[in-house]
Symmetry: C2
Subunit: 306 residues, 2 copies
């Protein structure tokens, strides 16, 4: 297969590195000049659980011309529409387009550019970091859950096989939307709260007020998720949140790192903001998510990011 | 009259100083040892718009024995129940007890210790600061609005007169509850928001997200106020908030000073927390106020204050 990785930041590099071990053709797409130049000149350097350099083709999205068999979307959420616009030339009739973006609402964006029968969605819990242009740092285990949105799992079994050949630990999941909601829910209760309160996950969960916030946000996510996907394992997701909060007790969530530590715009619109948007469509009131979204937007504006 | 000032912090000292200019007997009550000692040894020092020292009796609340004609309550909100407990011996049949505390819900607390026909409530916009034990710094103009809760204004005209003799600019207000709500509303939209967002009033009001927060909280205050006092001038209060936000644009509100700058517990329970409490009684949902209260409580807990 010809596989494009559309968005070759930290996670895109992890996927590119792993897939380079298979006999498929893998092409990275990105717009970061220094990153492109470094990978073209020296290859993609990978440290952490690995210590090697792999040669991989990389180009700007608009430069890709050969029709894809598979496109793996791994952009930042707010870069997705432009990416889809830029790569529409390589989406053919047989092309599958798989979103592994964090957050909610990406299938809706995809439908504006990609035929329904080509859309796949998934969720990954692999971690990845970038040390600099052309240098990915990869540690720890992970997995992928994915689903073909129209058509069955048999039709995309070769894609699941490819990920497993690459060691990416993929599973076909008939109900991947629930997994996406589960991950969004964990992020939605921890990310904006710790960002606005400027605290670790353990500090948030260690106070009664913090737990009340978490519960208020959680209930809104569950209500809107239930309206969207029907049955949802509320108890299981809550248990998962509590376990994660214990494991990651000393950590600041990624949104805190983005906004408070690095002054970058957040993905709040694809977490709590998406719940507000989806809630409105189905008549569910989401004041906690609205308020968290407003607070993060306000903080972004104060930092000159919007 | 024999007038006790129950709670002789900054504002209590302002009132004590002004009332010492009349021919009424004024006695300060407070529990701060250094403050009591300083005033006993050197008198109350007043700077700012004044530069003088006045002799005033001061004692602990439990030491007061002579029945009062008037008690002016000026404690911090969470010290009110203990103060009322401590001074019940000086509340006689003819004693009037006037609350000038910030925030909401104090009349309810008073009713547990004071007969209904003795209760007066009011609101003041005088400012005052303490430079140290026995030293108040008083600047700027101000006023008092007050009301007799059972019985008419005629019955307490002598109290209004006394305040005006002292230069404290008092007005009898048949609808003082609305004035209390107006002040609480201004504080309720600015105080917890700027505290949690760690920003000035101007920064908050200068962002769309911040304004959304302010409006969300404002609507809940108005809905609950309307349920409690009937007609309320929503438009007028909103205009007042917007004017105040422009005048105080470069300031951090008092709650920010308390919690973030000085690590002191806040009065959130008597602002947004009181709106949640009152809202529950009348069946009005107040998620914005609930969330702000939880966030401030969480921050207090993280700072070891609760």
């Amino acid at each position: 297969m010809r596989v494009y990785i559309a968005g070759s930041g930290a996670m895109g590099c992890r996927f590119g590195h792993s897939l380079s071990k298979t006999d498929h053709e893998v092409i990275l797409l990105d717009n970061w000049e220094d990153h492109i130049q470094a990978i073209r000149e020296n290859g993609l350097k990978v440290t952490g659980d690995f210590d090697e350099t792999v040669k991989l083709p990389i180009m700007k999205p608009t430069e890709a011309v050969e029709v894809a068999d598979l496109i793996i979307l791994l952009t930042k959420a707010d870069q997705l529409p432009k990416m889809l616009q830029d790569i529409k030339g390589i989406i053919g009739e047989q092309t599958k387009v798989l979103s592994l973006l964090n957050g909610l609402g990406h299938a809706t964006t995809m439908r504006r550019y990609v035929p329904d029968e080509s859309i796949m969605v998934g969720v990954t819990i692999w971690l990845a970091g970038l040390k600099g242009p052309g240098h990915a740092h990869l540690e720890g285990p992970g997995s992928i859950f994915l689903q073909n949105m129209s058509g069955d799992g048999q039709a995309v079994a070769h894609i699941v096989d490819m990920f497993n050949q690459a060691g990416l630990n993929a599973t076909y999941d008939e109900n991947v939307i629930e997994s996406i909601w589960r991950k969004a829910c964990v992020n939605g209760v921890m990310n904006p709260t710790c960002t606005i309160m400027d605290c670790t996950i353990g500090e948030l969960f260690g106070t009664e007020g913090g737990l009340n916030l978490v519960q208020g946000i959680f209930k809104e996510f569950i209500a809107v998720a239930r309206a969207e996907v029907g049955n949802i394992d509320e108890e299981g997701i809550w248990k998962y949140i509590m376990e994660t909060s214990k494991k990651a007790s000393h950590h600041y969530p990624s949104m805190h790192q983005d906004l408070i530590q690095h002054g970058r715009k957040t993905e709040i619109d694809y977490l709590n903001g998406a719940v507000v948007f989806k809630g409105k469509r189905v008549g569910i009131s989401t004041p906690y998510c609205q308020m968290m979204t407003d607070m993060v937007h306000a903080k972004e504006a104060m930092l000159g990011l919007r």
